[in-house]
Symmetry: D3
């Protein structure tokens, strides 16, 4: 069973790490250190550095609010749950696989990513999370119909902003043919092998 190759090469060849601007290379190497590989999104967007910087600045402001000094009413896992569900609604291969992997890890639930991606109404989640995803799906699919009554749910800004941001990144990933790294598919599915004593 060899490493699968993507059906089609991504539309835009990614630059080599050593050719990246200093600040971008530093961030990429940091991620590689932590994850053990470089998620494709970090290279795919690097052809155009100004967009790369804005994209990850936006991403971090929403997904890592503490990094910008903001407290969030959502757990890390809930944020990734919104991303995975939104990305599935947009049929975005890269984002469902990559963020689904992170969701499994944060929530410590190896099945939840597949569940919300296929049909969040059947997922093993709390009623609060269900309401959160109902709202996110409205922002995703019918944002022009969002009205006062939809705001009973708490932390609506966070829900909506994350969904809106992936209204951008899902389209970028799909359009550019970005493929998920093979590593993502398995992450968080099985208990991590304990290091041998």
């Amino acid at each position: 069973m060899s490493t699968p190759t993507p059906a089609t090469p991504p539309r835009y060849p990614a630059p080599e790490i050593q050719d990246l601007p200093e600040d971008i290379r530093a961030k990429v190497l940091e991620v590689q250190e932590k994850a053990g590989f470089v998620p494709n999104v970090f290279l795919a967007f690097a052809r155009r550095p100004a967009e790369w910087r804005a994209f990850f600045a936006y991403h971090d402001a929403l997904m890592l609010p503490e990094s910008v000094g903001r407290e969030s009413g959502l757990t890390k896992g809930e944020r990734e749950m919104i991303v995975t569900t939104t990305s599935a609604a947009n049929n975005c291969l890269y984002c469902v696989v990559a963020h689904g992997a992170i969701l499994r890890i944060y929530e410590k639930k190896p099945l939840v990513a597949d569940q919300v991606a296929i049909n969040y109404r059947k997922a093993d989640i709390s009623p609060r999370q269900r309401a959160m995803l109902d709202f996110a799906m409205k922002v995703c699919q019918r944002s022009d119909e969002v009205e006062e009554a939809d705001f009973a749910a708490l932390h609506a800004h966070g829900f909506a902003a994350i969904t809106a941001f992936f209204g951008l990144s899902n389209r970028m990933a799909s359009f550019s043919g970005m493929m998920p790294n093979p590593e993502f598919y398995l992450m968080g599915r099985a208990p991590k092998a304990k290091p041998a004593a």
Copy 2:
């Protein structure tokens, strides 16, 4: 990390194996022997034995054609690829997870099930398989528009019949709240551990 419980119990309680009619119990035990667990679909439909028998007879006639003496132009993996893609289009949790697992095993490609479920246009499949899935999606979503020109693809009957059959079973599974067995989620993702010598 404990075994997850479904968000909601299935609508109809499944009967106990020992209470099943003889022929059904035999088939269930045979599957359990082979798979190591009883896939939920075998118990979920057993409350109504006549439907159970018809359902699996139909399933086998399409998915195991050699069992009824018919030769098929589709490989086992291709049949499961149609099922997984159709079930994803119908947002059927049980069928995407269970048949996705079998697809990974038959195709020996640990990523392909997630790929076709999320966006088959980006999947690592052959042009022939892509044409097969385009046709299956038309039968799935706009069967009234199928016309002569759609039949350039080979083996159209097989494609269409499988998709149509899951037009039935996806609805049954979704409606009855059938949940995938946890075992399915991991099947075929990693190389099987070799038995210790």
Copy 3:
């Protein structure tokens, strides 16, 4: 006014009655005896006997539950009402015409088949039947959204299973170009001429 011929011949030529396997031929002749003609569906699927047997076994388990020893909360007419409405939602020519004919006869209402096929919300049916069709349409068109609250309606399993089954047969009929027998179009519309004494 001659017998109309179908716009296009069906895609797959039907076998001759005398060439059918014994059990299938017996059933076909029995139907012909009762109806005065052989409904096309009995021959169209007979090319592949294992599927034929499973299809009619499934059909009978749902549509003739007493034949498998099950009591149903639905009348025969109500079952056909679900079939006709489902088939119209799927734009299936064969099933709307053939099951619409049977619906007229069971319900003794010569107009009801056209009414439910065109717009069941305007049909001359009981509130209970209206609720039944609302639920069936949800299973037909958005089965992934069916939830607890939808089950207030009685006999939900029967409703859903019938609709799901025709999620299969509508696609088979449309895809294979099966045409309704001309006899169906007129059945049940006018009081039967009494046989001359």
Copy 4:
């Protein structure tokens, strides 16, 4: 088998014939004379005489062009075929039943009305009529996308205007709860009984 009553009375009570303005009453009586009954549309809209006059003036200008001195490239049957197909796409009970009856009579084809209403792609019609209905469906459902290339078909104005007019009348009939007269359901289905010699 008694005359069915509509599920719900029409929203707006129709006026009595003797209370109608002179010109409207004359037209109604003329139709009654010819058809043997008064089609409900003639009374349903008569509450508001100015709209009644404009509606039938428009109807006649399109459906009876010779009555306004215009020659048409469409046969009477083709015009009714467009109406029946358009009305089915809009799920309008009154118009499908009433115009379907007239279509059967003009075309002398007892099955064609049901065929185009359920799935015109399967109907027993000529290639020219098929192209005509494809175009009419585009005007009906996506008129904003009609472009130069769609005009290869002949007599596009007539096609489009008829479809557009029933974009009005289907909505009026559905909204006001207008029900088809029972007579329409059977018209043109069986050869007319010859008068006894």
Copy 5:
């Protein structure tokens, strides 16, 4: 900044004013006198005089009810609000621009036309007008689902008939490639320059 020319000439050349039938020419000249230009719709439909007469008779019966002796529960501005919203839902360039201009003038609100055309849920209108537009949109997009409960809103007939009429005229305008006169785009946006004293 020169006068823009339409991207494509309208499909059917409009007749010259002097060639029109007497009654039509009189009406056209009257409109020109009042508006300062001839709105394209008056010439575009004039090729077929019987349809022209019926179209404007219908239009006036609905939009100028006092001209046919009927009292209306809707203000002139509300009628145009329904037209503009309906036409935007149908993506009809001519009608949104032309009726949006009249809406601005009647309502004396220079922003309201753009608001209802883009998203009426965000428009600066009264709750009664919002309910009116919700109902009109149901007639426009799902008239087959209109039911008793939708009639809580007052003056439903007027709402529905106007929406239905533009279900006709939007299709005619889009199909025929009718372009709005440039004058319409600016009308009612800025306070009218007072005539110099």
Copy 6:
């Protein structure tokens, strides 16, 4: 004719200019200096400064590529044309009005913004711009279906990225109830009054 007030106040009160972080305040005052007013988007997002900075960094990287040292194959007007068309497809009131105003100014065509917003197929634009908008609409509405063949059009990255970015900002604006400044509605519609000499 007084300044219209929004139907509903925006969901989140905007901060006062003097309370903004230094860098944001500077940018806001610069825009106010140039435009004569502060477009609401500059204040609406300022409650959360990290998102504000990322949003405008992204916006500028796409819409003002020269500001980040990138050369673009699109004119300024074409970029705004994509934004206006995308925003109309998403029914976003703020973005259609604000970017429509800028589009009119850049293209020096007072009608083009309304045209692309209502139906870009009827707009007075070049064939190249039409192809550009067709592609942008595919990214906007069916990004998962974008494939090799869609890339015949030039500068696809720019098209797609802009559309994707407004897949974010349209949702943010709609969700948060952001209203367009009244100034936008009239901008670019009439020749600028020359300053009195």
